[in-house]
């Protein structure tokens, strides 16, 4: 193999036998939530594959916040997200929740609650509740956040499972405004093109 790229020419022999990848070779998934603007609620943005929570946070920063469309983000293991049934049409997902036997427990956790208001859109953070189980948290959310607008789907996540951005980490995004080279608006060729076209038309 002869490449135009000298680095490719220096590569070692290509491995001949390719064994299928073992399960989880690419790690498990973590859900990523970003805050588009200061004061706006966090919304679900996508996933990253990572070996653990802290690496997921680092990878999420690279994957989702390369441009100035984010002021903060957090990540959580996909397995820690509790999901309600998906509602149809004008049905409200809160009405689809099963009434579970109230479990009296001394220890209560806080849960973050997310609403999906329209199919095809993203889950958006709506508030925090205190409850002993995810089911109880959704019931609690029903009394607190259920309005006349039907909710398509509800997520509940234990606050303690989330890897938040700490205040001191916010300067991670501090240099974004300087990175103008990532921005379409900094590639203005119009004037150069105009002069060129004018000169050409005069030459004719």
């Amino acid at each position: 193999m002869k490449s135009l790229d000298p680095r490719v020419n220096r590569l070692p022999e290509t491995p001949k036998d390719i064994v299928p990848k073992a399960p989880l070779d690419q790690f498990g998934t973590f859900e990523v939530f970003v805050q588009p603007k200061e004061g706006k609620p966090f919304q679900h943005e996508g996933i990253v594959h990572a070996p653990e929570l802290e690496m997921a946070y680092v990878l999420a920063k690279e994957a989702f916040t390369r441009r100035f469309t984010c002021t903060s983000l957090y990540v959580v293991d996909t397995r820690s997200v509790f999901v309600s049934p998906l509602a149809e049409g004008t049905t409200n997902a809160y009405d689809l929740l099963e009434q579970k036997q109230e479990q009296h427990s001394i220890s209560e956790d806080t849960f973050e609650i997310y609403h999906l208001l329209k199919r095809g859109k993203q889950h958006v953070h709506i508030g925090t509740v205190k409850a002993s189980t995810p089911d109880a948290a959704m019931q609690q959310a029903k009394t607190m956040f259920n309005t006349s607008t039907p909710v398509m789907n509800i997520w509940a996540i234990r606050t303690k499972d989330i890897r938040f951005t700490e205040e001191s980490e916010k300067d991670l995004w501090g240099t974004l405004p300087e990175k103008k080279f990532r921005d379409a608006a900094s590639y203005k060729g119009g004037d150069k093109l105009k002069t060129f076209l004018e000169r050409n038309s005069q030459a004719l």
Binding site: L4, P20, P23, Q26, R66, L86, R182, L193, N200
Partner: protein
Amino acid sequence: MYGGGNTFEGIKTDSLAQEDPIKLAEFEARIARGEKIEPADWMPALYRKQLIRMIEQHAHSEIIGALPEGTWITRAPGFKRKLALMAKVQDEVGHAQLLYSAAETLGKTREEMIHDLITGKSKYSNIFNYPAFTWADACFISWLVDAGAIVNQLANAKGSYGPYCRALDRICAEESFHLKYGHHCVIFLATGTQKQRDMFQEAINRWWAPMMHFFGPADKISAHTQVLMNWKVKMATNDDTRNQFLDMYVPKIWELGFTIPDPALKKNTDTGRWDYTEPDWEEFKRVINGGGPCNEERLAVRRIAEERGKWVREALRSPKASYVMPLA
């Protein structure tokens, strides 16, 4: 960026007969209402299969597409161009991550997708099997190959599968930088010295045929294609996207005083569509099936990257492991 021209052959049309007619009717009604399909919804096996194939090919195209341009980072003219090209290549790889995630929601694991890429089972956009000889080639890719990709991606972003559409919305937003950057580079070459102009003209001459191939051969409008269009999997025919690209970019290329190596290329005033010499589809097939100038190199680079990354993945998997001094 993304190679379009998905061909949907090789999957039996009659597989629909095995689907539950009531669920199928509900599914089709949902799409007809303009609602998105989400991963937890019921969907026909054919829909799932076609989407996996399409999104996966798109993801592979982003990863492989970063290679010909990546080669030019160290040789890009000046610090600003290096920064921009690095950012663009990083975006492309990022897009692949978003797309693999979308494909995963349909039930194919990331491990399987990567395996299928490096063993040559899955395809990617054919255009990346050609080499970028000069800086002008890199500029052609940044401007025109990305432009072609945007035509496809904007169409697909109106499709029916929620996770794919969301990924595409993010991707299209970033592609606008690629397009502006690419055009900027080309304007600089076009308004530069004669040598620079010649360099870009040669790039057009080299890349025009692969660019026409990019949108894929004319679709055989079969019942099968019609089903996929009704399901909003395929959003436009290959000829339509090719025509749209020509409409938008041929005038821009001509404006800069360059020529396009196809004497038959002109807009037909009667039909409102472009006439052109039929691309060589035998060449297209030959390259797709491994016969292109760079197929071997592109896959080799990915294989070695997987191989070399293995120890990193292993190390990350056991973060608590630490060095212990031997006992004796």
